[in-house]
């Protein structure tokens, strides 16, 4: 391998879950350095998402775009990642300025990468610059060396494949002796051709005897990586992982982890069965409550959905029923995989592959196209991972083009073929066109925010339609906010979830808040104040998980039986107390839940300020498409007319019109008013003005009112 730069080092030690060291890489200058963190940085920004936020706040400006030299690609675990005695500690966050949103995105991903990175001595890597040639970065604790190396090339097919290149580069680096002590991240050609490229996190699964991958899917982090000409980052350390975090109180760690593992073992089989079925189990429940995003979020329920219930995958693809965790020690083990899946379409047709998935989101993305074919879901899963594109954005972009075609905004001539709901062959063709940047795929590859403008232009050029009026119509069903495509839940009937999506700082991704059930099904948030309280609490707690390097599923999807007797069962405080015990036992802190909320609110505000700086932080950018707050078309209204008429009778004081078209207009106007009212109340609760800008006092409270912040706020006064 041709080494460009190398750096001999001794891995900084881990104490209390941290090394206080960040690896700094400059790909333009080909330099490697280690930044030592002071106590203030660590205590204020915690790790993971917090570190990514602070580094990007400091090192980028309002002019920074995803392809700017100064844009950072940060990969960071957190003080609580890398602990096999506690479930769900394999998570890390990738943070950067997103190609889709032009503001901060963080995408969380599982696997062995961050635990091994920590063993190599680093709490985070921060990569700036753009290499003039394709390179890989190796961080090798065993060799005591960090190196920037010209990326080996294997063949065009392998080099273009996110999964294939990962396998090839790890075999190359280890002389075909891959162990569980090594991990890598890669991306694929789809990250070059689209703005929603993902990052694959590779690790050896000894049960399956092959490399497996998890994905940092959202927001185009892979596109940033590919733009930097960074083909892979490899981390290697033979250090044993048990006790490697050097917790201050090892007994407390063991106690908290053992108790949580016991809870999962006892309760998951009585609840969601995630350990057996993985997240596709959600398809059945989302279908029951009209939450599946069918036909571009038009309809939440279909008789066909049973074709993709989780037992179908269990019987057809997950037959070997292996223990499928994404990191050691997690007995929720929900990262399902399938072997010997034969691809029936696309450039790799005829090939037999292992598929890591599907997750619920991937299955949901396919229902977005009106498709309920389990084999197509498996193929879609594999191809997106191999191309290196986000299954969610890919699905929602395809659905948007399908609806645009079917509503007459695009012609068969514009696309090259038809795009109808349920048409697997042409949907498949569209996906490959997008990932290869071919034909109409070149437009789709830019995401919905860009594509809708192109479609409006095309339509107004081809017909007598007015551009602005066309764009207004397209915006009704263009399912994106801030430039990021929606994740896989219909929010129409839950005002709280509309807020959960609209106020989400990165864009409409549910990892900030998932309140649909509490609101729509449990009806536990009847008042605005209750919705607001939830819209503050849940995003803060979820932020914390992303800052400390933990998976939130053992907390959020396995309910402690004692939670039923608490004030707010959905918060699952009896389980969360185990996480607090784990935190304090690892780091030596004495925090309680209020301290954690304060820590998280600081990070949330910092992210808000980055949004404001990047021009995505005002009320305008928290608005959601009409389809996300109610039926956008008469067909949608009529599909559930009885429900909507009942809703109008309960929620509208004025006389209800006689015909359904007028009822629809009244419903839409009412829903818009409710959302506007929600914005007012939530902003007030969060310490923002009515335009969504934080007050200076709010920032001062969290020691964030520095000169940069002052300068930004001045522009909005």
């Amino acid at each position: 391998m041709k080494v460009i730069t190398s750096f001999k080092y001794t891995a900084p030690e881990i104490t209390g879950g941290v090394t206080d060291s960040i690896l700094r890489i400059d790909l333009t200058q080909s330099t490697i350095s280690i930044q030592k963190l002071d106590e203030d940085f660590k205590h204020k920004y915690i790790g993971g998402r917090g570190y990514a936020l602070k580094l990007i706040w400091d090192d980028t400006t309002s002019e920074t775009k995803y392809d700017s030299e100064e844009n950072l690609l940060v990969m960071a675990g957190g003080p609580l990642c890398n602990e096999p005695r506690f479930p769900g500690t394999g998570k890390f966050v990738v943070g950067t300025i997103s190609p889709l949103t032009n503001t901060f995105i963080d995408s969380n991903v599982g696997g062995f990468f961050a635990p091994i990175l920590k063993a190599c001595g680093f709490d985070a890597i921060a990569i700036k610059g753009i290499s003039s040639k394709k390179i890989i970065l190796t961080i090798d604790d065993d060799k005591g060396e960090i190196a920037i190396i010209e990326a080996p090339s294997f063949s065009e097919e392998i080099d273009n494949g996110g999964i294939s290149y990962g396998k090839a580069i790890l075999n190359y680096y280890t002389d075909n002796k891959i162990t569980k002590h090594i991990a890598a991240v890669t991306t694929g050609i789809g990250a070059e051709t689209t703005l929603f490229g993902l990052i694959n996190s590779h690790f050896l699964d000894n049960n399956r005897k092959r490399l497996r991958t998890k994905q940092a899917g959202r927001g185009g982090t892979g596109t940033v990586m590919r733009y930097k000409n960074l083909m892979s980052v490899i981390v290697n350390s033979s250090k044993t992982r048990i006790k490697n975090n050097n917790p201050i109180n090892p007994h407390g760690v063991k106690n908290a982890g053992g108790t949580l593992a016991k809870l999962i073992k006892e309760e998951d089989p009585k609840q969601l069965h995630l350990a057996s079925w993985g997240t596709p189990v959600l398809v059945e429940y989302m279908n029951k409550f009209h939450i599946l995003p069918i036909n571009n979020y038009q309809y939440g329920q279909s008789d066909k959905a049973k074709q993709i219930f989780s037992d179908v995958f269990l019987n057809e693809y997950l037959k070997d029923k292996k223990f499928d965790g994404c990191y050691a020690g997690c007995n929720l083990a929900c990262a399902k995989g399938a072997e010997d899946v034969t691809l029936t379409r696309g450039p790799h047709k005829g090939r037999t592959v292992g598929v890591d998935g599907p997750e619920y989101e991937t299955a949901g993305a396919v229902t977005c196209l009106g498709i309920f074919d389990p084999h197509f879901i498996m193929e879609f899963n594999w191809y997106c991972d191999e191309y290196g594109v986000d299954t969610i954005s890919m699905g929602v972009v395809t659905a948007f083009f399908m609806e645009s075609f079917q509503r007459g905004f695009l012609s068969e001539e514009d696309i090259g073929y038809t795009l109808n709901w349920g048409d697997i062959e042409n949907a498949d063709r569209f996906i490959h066109d997008t990932c290869s940047g071919t034909g109409i795929g070149k437009i789709a590859s830019q995401g919905i925010n860009s594509a809708k403008k192109w479609i409006a232009e095309k339509h107004s050029t081809n017909t007598d339609a007015n551009y602005d009026e066309t764009l207004i119509e397209l915006n009704k069903f263009a399912m994106e906010v801030k430039g990021l495509e929606f994740s896989m839940y219909i929010s129409k009937e839950s005002l709280a979830q509309q807020g959960g999506y609209g106020f989400a700082l990165k864009g409409p991704q549910h990892d900030e808040a998932w309140l649909i059930f509490l609101d729509q099904v449990h009806n536990e948030m009847e008042t605005f104040e209750m919705k607001t309280a939830a819209l503050k609490w849940f995003p803060l707690i979820r932020t914390w998980f992303n800052a400390v390097g933990l998976c939130k599923l053992p907390w959020i999807d396995v309910r402690h039986p004692e939670a039923a007797h608490t004030e707010n069962p959905a918060q699952n405080i009896p389980s969360f107390n185990l996480y607090i015990e784990y935190l304090n036992s690892t780091t030596g802190s004495e925090k309680n839940i209020d301290d954690i909320l304060i820590d998280s609110e600081r990070l949330h505000l910092l992210q808000k300020m980055i949004n404001v700086r990047q021009g995505k932080g005002t009320r305008e950018h928290d608005q959601i498409p009409l389809r996300a707050m109610g039926p956008a078309s008469i067909e949608e209204f009529n599909s559930r007319s009885e429900y909507y008429i009942d809703w109008l009778n309960k929620n509208v004081k004025s006389e209800i019109p006689k015909n359904n078209e007028d009822k629809l207009i009244l419903l839409q106007e009412t829903r818009k008013e409710l959302y506007a009212k929600l914005c007012d109340i939530v902003y007030k609760e969060k310490g923002y003005d009515n335009n969504g800008i934080p007050f200076s006092e709010t920032l001062e409270k969290f020691q964030l009112y520095d000169n940069k912040a002052k300068h930004i706020l001045k522009k909005h006064q």
Partner: protein, 81 residues
């Protein structure tokens, strides 16, 4: 006259069906339906503290009275991943 219990997830797999119909005279409350289900399918484990009860797709509770043609479901609670 009857009431029905919708079976979902692993309940559906254990019972090998997605709906059970029960004569109304046997069931007066959700709790009766719960006990009936446990009796005919003892392998179905339901913890009342971690189960969502719906009647006609609306959130309910064990003490709720049941009318003819009502549909009951016992669902896991979940928080959204």
């Amino acid at each position: 006259m009857s009431i029905s219990i919708t079976l979902m997830g692993h309940h559906r797999i254990i019972a090998k069906r997605d709906i059970i119909k029960i004569p109304k005279e046997k069931i007066n409350s959700v709790s009766d339906a719960f006990l009936f289900l446990k009796k005919i399918y003892p392998e179905i484990i339901i913890n009342e503290n971690t189960t969502l009860v719906t009647v006609n797709d609306k959130i309910s509770h064990m003490d709720e009275s049941i009318k003819a043609n009502d549909n009951i479901a016992f669902l896991p609670v979940f928080g959204g991943g």
